[in-house]
């Protein structure tokens, strides 16, 4: 009886507020769209600016559409003008970044998977302390390791090289990849592993036959996270490399800051888009995993 009356009261309440609801919904959409325009505005400006000539840029405003699809600035940003020295363009640095990202993502993901596997399925006394010990690496401000890292790379003879950056990104990716895999494997029933051990399966066999086949989602999350972090890195790139070994973010910054000639905003914007495209594509194609990485990786790291 009690339930019935309160349900009736509830529906009455719903009816009464119908008009206010409608107004509220309009307000809701208004605010949501307002913010959507704030977020989309820079991307729109970047795209239209990159398609204009400098003349059009001077005459119009940020929002004016270009007169046509003119990809000249994109060509200049990617391949330069071909006049040799002083002509900076992104193509070689884009490949530098690829050469840096692929091995660094691979090694850090692999080490993280192995570490996460041991920490959850081969537990030992004090393993949670080991995890905490590794986890703290997610949070250190990298400024506190820049100076010794620069020395170390010098001693190893790999400063100012792509190999050096691969090492740096692999090492400082381990805390994150470990966190991802550890949190994923913790929810895999340990009974599976125990049963396999009784059947005589060894350490690696259990990993490759039982855990790896069900790891696809977390591998995707980890690879996307690492890819985005390393591709977007500027601090390590700008500190440990210069000139020809620089990754794309460093090259982009140099291009935009170079004050040799007249400022070409269209080329700047085309360059910025080129430097952002790979991670944007990943985000659009695999947004779900991207967000999962952000919320679980960044929730703790």
């Amino acid at each position: 009886m009690q339930v019935k009356t309160s349900l009736a009261a509830y529906t009455q309440l719903e009816k009464k507020s119908k008009i206010t609801n409608l107004l509220l919904r309009w307000f809701l959409y208004f605010v949501l769209i307002l913010f959507a325009s704030y977020f989309i505005f820079p991307l729109y400006v970047m795209i239209v600016t990159s398609l204009k000539t400098m003349e059009e840029i001077r005459q119009g405003t940020l929002l004016t559409l270009p007169s046509g699809l003119n990809f000249d600035s994109w060509a200049v940003a990617w391949e330069g003008r071909g006049y040799g020295a002083g002509d900076t363009f992104l193509k070689p640095y884009f490949w530098n970044s690829i050469k840096m990202v692929v091995p660094a993502v691979f090694f850090s993901t692999f080490i993280g998977a192995m570490t996460g596997y041991v920490l959850t399925k081969w537990r030992f006394k004090g393993d949670s302390w080991v995890f905490l010990f590794l986890l703290f690496g997610c949070f250190i401000p990298f400024q506190a390791i820049l100076l010794p890292m620069a020395r170390t790379l010098g001693v190893l003879g790999i400063s100012n090289s792509i190999l050096g950056l691969v090492v740096v990104h692999t090492v400082y990716g381990i805390p994150f990849t470990t966190l991802f895999f550890r949190n994923y494997y913790v929810s895999v029933p340990t009974e599976l592993v125990k049963a396999a051990r009784i059947d005589g399966a060894g350490f690696f066999k259990i990993f490759f036959k039982i855990l790896l086949p069900i790891s696809a989602p977390i591998i995707v999350v980890t690879v996307i996270w690492q890819f985005t972090q390393i591709w977007n890195d500027f601090l390590f790139g700008s500190t440990f490399s210069f000139g020809e070994a620089a990754p794309i973010q460093v090259a982009l910054n140099n291009m935009v800051l170079s004050s040799t000639s007249v400022k070409e905003y269209n080329v700047d914007m085309a360059s910025a888009i080129i430097a952002g495209i790979p991670t944007l594509i990943v985000y659009v194609l695999a947004g779900k995993y991207f967000i999962r990485g952000l919320t679980s990786g960044a929730v703790k790291g």
Binding site: Y10, L13, L24, Y29, V31, F35, F39, I40, P42, L43, M46, T61, L62, L63, I111, G112, T115, V118, F124, S128, L134, F136, G137, F139, I140, P141, F142, Q143, A144, L146, L147, P148, M149, V171, I174, P175, G202, F203, N232, F234, T239, Q249, L252, N253, V256, Y265, D268, M269, A275, G276, T279, L280, V282, Y283, G287, F290, I291, L294, T295, V299
Partner: protein, 291 residues
Amino acid sequence: MFKWLEKNLPKVVLAPAVGLISWFVYGFVLWTFYISFTNSKILPRYELWGVGNYGKLWASHKWLVAVENLFIFTSLFLIFCTVIGIILAIFLDQKIRAEGALRTIYLYPMALSFIVTGTAWKWILNPTLGIQKMFIDWGFESFTFNWLVDREMAIYTVVIAGVWQSAGFVMALFLAGLRSVEDEIVKAAKIDGAGLFTVYWKILIPMMRPVFFTSFVILVHISIKSYDLIVALTQGGPGISTTMPAMYMTQTAFHKSQVALSATSAIMMFMAVSAVIIPYLYSELRRENAS
């Protein structure tokens, strides 16, 4: 030998990660800490010199400007990201059409690097051809918006770009938090006569305490480390008006060749981050052990 390996295989596999992190994280931080007590200039020197660098750092005008900027930036960045993030999350949680598309739009800046973000905003905010010109061309002839080149205001342009980059992330955290609340709780409150506003203000938002905590930690962490955005947007200028600690650290080390002083500033940053992170890790660990 073989038997030993078989027995200790898990620990052998764990060794690379532990070894690398011990050396490259803890060892390096200790090295930096040690160097902050020496008198190193271009090259590290290992004779101890004392705490002089700490005094020198806190007497440095540039460092004080950097710290002040960090406080301004962090507080505004926190407030705006959190407020915008919560509003967007609550509004999106009302069975909105095209929720997926809107979410994608709010969050995509997170996929871009701070260099790309800085480059874009630098162009938008430049007084000659950017927003200022847009409004003037629209007929607001006395419109001025030159914060980017104004010593007093430039730090706020960093806030604008930073919030643009990170607010969507806070939205994602809160949306996930709101979605994990049981429907029954909201329904029960409505039956008791609570309006939508009351439901959020009195019940749901207080329930989001862990999400507040998490986003606070992450945002503070981002802001203490912020370097790229400043490099791309203002290069610390005009003058030194937008310098931040991370920038002070690299400039002191690599342009001014004051290695010890630079290490000192890095240690101050490390301590600031630790002050936020250690309590956080501690509470996370306790929560995990409790469940």
